[in-house]
């Protein structure tokens, strides 16, 4: 058997930092999925070339044995820096100058002016959409300055494909401490004391879960990291796995130490190819460094991590379904009890935690539980990441302490609500959908409520995995409810009747409302079926599937009634309820629409105003398409 030379964390950290201190500028180019789509890779290449052209000595990876580099420059790709809509992002350290929407042709100027002459290039700076103010970097861009990035902290600073950088930032010291200086019970107690609750949706206290698994006696135990982030509108787990995979691995190691497991699985969605690649690389590097494998940190304990790619089933985010999937079966949930803590993967006691939960664990061990629990509210400790998307100026990934208000998130970090043209304007806020298909809607009146697990449950929503979709007043809430219903209906695994049949019925009732065929009875039935599905379903998917409908029924009853009784959709999103008219100001009587109308619903003489007969019109939209004068109203 080949022996692996164990890495000495202290020595790596010291040498790395010594070498890094000689680096004059470190250029960090965001290489998350978002920035790559926006063209970050050509920027990276152009930057490398621009630095070479300027005759500077450039390092992609620090060579630890060299101490003669003075002054030197380093360029590195990073994981998601969160500010996706502004990408590609280029962050220059130690100045903390951040350039947004950088193009390859900007790189020469960046090297000449910023890298060599310490100037800031005005036109590449972030411009506040409301005040028009130019911001220099993460310290003064409100999107960053108002966050508290603990779990995401190293994301966007360290190179995710370089284990030494993670170690230099204090990585794996917590795992070492857990394996060499703490007992299993101490590890679990630390997590209990920190108040950490599951970040995947349920909010179950993590420490308690670990204790329950620890007390089971078994020859084999497993740790599973749940990275099957299926909630539409949430991408924090993807960003963490892409941006700081070693933190997730370290969290899994500590969990394994806490419950006495020696094998672990990371279950990653197949829709996240980059996350899979980076996690795989990180596991290999940790194996090579002797951090994973046999006899970890000389403790005599072993630890192996496998990666399992999902195959596209939302229900596999449910823990029992996920374990069935790892075992090679259809991903269907099982009734609980037995809980995974007693009988989990391959029938063995298993702890299953979400990516974000596990990424918080090393911080707790490193800094102590009382450091962690000073953040947040009484019942919800620490920070939470949210994927802020929809009609908001600054979309991206954010992290704030529990207890932050929605107003702070939407208006200060998010920079305000946008209209359909993407401009920030006042008075267009309608709702925030939180928690994805399991969550609900929050409105104007909830803007000042501190966000935490319990407040949200009381409002009929849930924090879920943290998807936060902002909607302006051009969004139809019935359509939103239908969108989620359609999602859960097609993702229902079909095992239990309430979920399989109930979601189908709810969907067709919603379709009736949208198509103008509903009566008061439809509405009452929708609510009743919703309550039954919620009560009678087997797993979390079914139990929470009616939430988007039930929560919109409470918050937007009038909008439902308008659709049902007046057959009208105020936002004009429901095709069947549209009223299509011709603008008398704009119509010149060219007859194009009348000639194309497939049902002859349009009448009018040449050069005269035309009319649409609402009784005949099928609202197909052809007239809108052919009109060159934008005279057909009612489509948006």
């Amino acid at each position: 058997m080949e022996t692996i030379t164990k890495i000495d964390l202290r020595q790596v950290k010291e040498t790395y930092n010594k070498t890094a201190s000689r680096i004059r500028k470190r250029i960090v180019i965001c290489a998350g999925t978002g920035c790559i789509a926006n063209g970050a890779l050509p920027v990276y290449k152009a930057m490398e070339k621009a630095i070479a052209d300027a005759g500077l000595e450039l390092f992609v990876e620090l060579e630890l044995n060299r101490h003669d580099l003075d002054p030197a420059y380093q360029i590195t790709g990073s994981g998601c820096q969160g500010f996706c809509a502004q990408g590609p992002l280029v962050n220059i350290l130690p100045d903390e100058t951040m350039y947004v929407k950088v193009k390859p042709e900007d790189c020469t100027e960046i090297v000449e002016r910023t890298i060599l002459s310490d100037e800031v290039i005005d036109r590449l700076m972030y411009v506040n959409p409301v005040t028009g103010e130019h911001n220099k970097g993460q310290l003064d861009i409100p999107f960053y300055a108002r966050q508290n990035r603990l779990v995401l902290g190293e994301c966007g600073h360290v190179d995710p494909e370089n284990i030494r950088e993670y170690i230099a930032h204090g990585g794996y010291f917590a795992a070492e401490k857990a394996f060499t200086q703490m007992t299993e019970t101490e590890v679990c107690d630390n997590i209990v004391e920190s108040g950490l609750r599951g970040r995947g949706g349920g909010g179950f206290p993590t420490g308690r879960k670990w204790h329950l698994t620890l007390k089971e006696i078994s020859d084999k135990k497993y740790v599973i990291c749940n990275g099957d982030e299926g909630d539409p509108g949430a991408f924090m787990d993807r960003s963490l796995m892409e941006g700081n995979p070693h933190r997730v691995i370290e969290g899994m190691m500590i969990a394994a130490r806490g419950i006495g497991a020696d094998e672990a699985y990371v279950y990653v969605r197949l829709e996240y190819p980059l996350a899979v690649k980076r996690m795989r690389r990180a596991i290999e590097d940790a194996m090579d460094a002797g951090i994973l494998g046999d006899d970890i940190f000389g403790s005599g304990r072993n630890m192996y991590i496998h990666i399992m790619e999902g195959a596209g089933a939302f229900v596999c985010g449910e823990e029992t379904a996920l374990m069935a999937s790892i075992e090679g079966k259809r991903g269907m949930p099982m009734p609980k009890p037995p809980f995974p803590a007693q009988k989990g993967l391959f029938g063995k006691p298993t702890v299953i935690n979400n990516v974000e939960t596990l990424a918080a664990v090393p911080l707790i061990i490193r800094n102590g539980p009382s450091w962690f629990n000073q953040h947040g509210t009484v019942g919800s400790k620490g920070t939470k990441t949210f994927a802020l998307t929809g009609h908001v100026a600054n979309t991206g990934l954010i992290e704030v302490p529990f207890g932050t208000t929605l107003r702070e998130i939407v208006y200060n970090i998010g920079g305000g609500v946008t209209n359909d043209d993407g401009k920030v304007t006042g008075e267009v806020f309608k709702a925030v959908q939180i928690g994805g298909p399991s969550g609900g809607c929050l409105t104007e009146e909830d803007l000042d409520m501190p966000l935490d697990y319990d407040n949200l449950i009381a409002k009929g929503a849930m924090i879920g995995s943290g998807g936060l979709v902002v909607m302006n007043n051009q969004s139809c809430m019935i359509q939103i409810a239908r969108f989620f219903m359609n999602f859960t209906q097609s993702e229902s695994c079909g095992k239990c009747v309430p979920c399989r049949e109930g979601t189908k019925q709810m969907l067709s009732l919603l379709d009736d409302i949208i198509e103008g065929k509903a009566t008061q009875e439809t509405f009452e039935l929708l609510e009743e079926v919703g309550l039954v599905v919620k009560k009678a379903s087997l797993c979390g998917l079914g139990k929470t599937a009616p939430s988007p409908v039930l929560s919109t029924i409470v918050k937007f009853k009038d909008e439902y009634f308008e659709h049902i009784h007046d057959k009208r959709c105020a936002t004009n999103n429901c095709k069947a309820l549209r009223s299509i008219t011709i603008d008398p100001e704009k119509c010149i009587g060219c007859t194009a629409c009348a000639r194309k109308c497939p049902v002859n619903a349009i009448s009018g003489e040449k050069k005269q105003l035309h009319f649409i007969d609402p009784e005949v019109c099928t609202k197909c939209g052809i007239c809108y398409d052919v009109c060159k004068f934008d005279a057909v109203l009612g489509f948006n």
Partner: protein
């Protein structure tokens, strides 16, 4: 085929990775393949079929050369992904029932969240992600692919005539 199964040690619990690797090789799962996998793993065909039809990633139908995925996650949805899908259907003469063009060039799918919500609406062609796509840009992307294809064909025929 056998190579894939051997690499996975004939392990039943590795059924999903096996099917993933098979699909990667064949671009879909033909019925004969499912029978073969079942026999090789010594398990009922029904069970393999059950798994293959359960997961959205597995396709029992042949797919086109370019798989165009339109993200229909929440953020993309509120930013108009359904309009994008309509535009694609119209351009490629496809529908919700017909996903692949007759020349086996394009398959259009609406998929659940791709996790690139900051760039909504998002379109993915094979592995390449395009953000903030509108109907016009979508047109340009497809035209770009078609041009590349015809250039490639042209180059090939020139090669042959040489």
């Amino acid at each position: 085929m056998l190579e894939i199964i051997e690499k996975n040690n004939h392990d039943k619990t590795r059924l999903i990775p096996i099917l993933q690797q098979v699909q990667e090789a064949y671009r879909y799962l033909p019925p004969q393949v499912l029978t073969y996998v079942a026999t090789a793993l010594n398990m009922p065909v029904a069970e393999v079929y059950g798994v293959a039809t359960f997961y959205a990633h597995f396709s029992l139908e042949a797919k086109g050369k370019y798989i165009v995925k339109v993200c229909d996650g929440t953020a993309c949805h509120v930013k108009g992904s359904s309009k994008l899908l309509d535009a694609l259907y119209k351009k490629l003469k496809l529908s919700q029932q017909k996903h692949t063009t007759d020349d086996m060039m394009f398959t259009v799918e609406a998929v659940s969240c791709l996790g690139a919500c900051g760039l909504a609406p998002v379109l993915v062609v094979n592995e390449k992600v395009y953000g903030e796509v509108n109907a016009k840009r979508c047109d340009d992307i497809l035209d770009g692919i078609l041009k590349e294809e015809s250039d490639m064909k042209l180059a090939e025929s020139e090669e042959i005539s040489k």
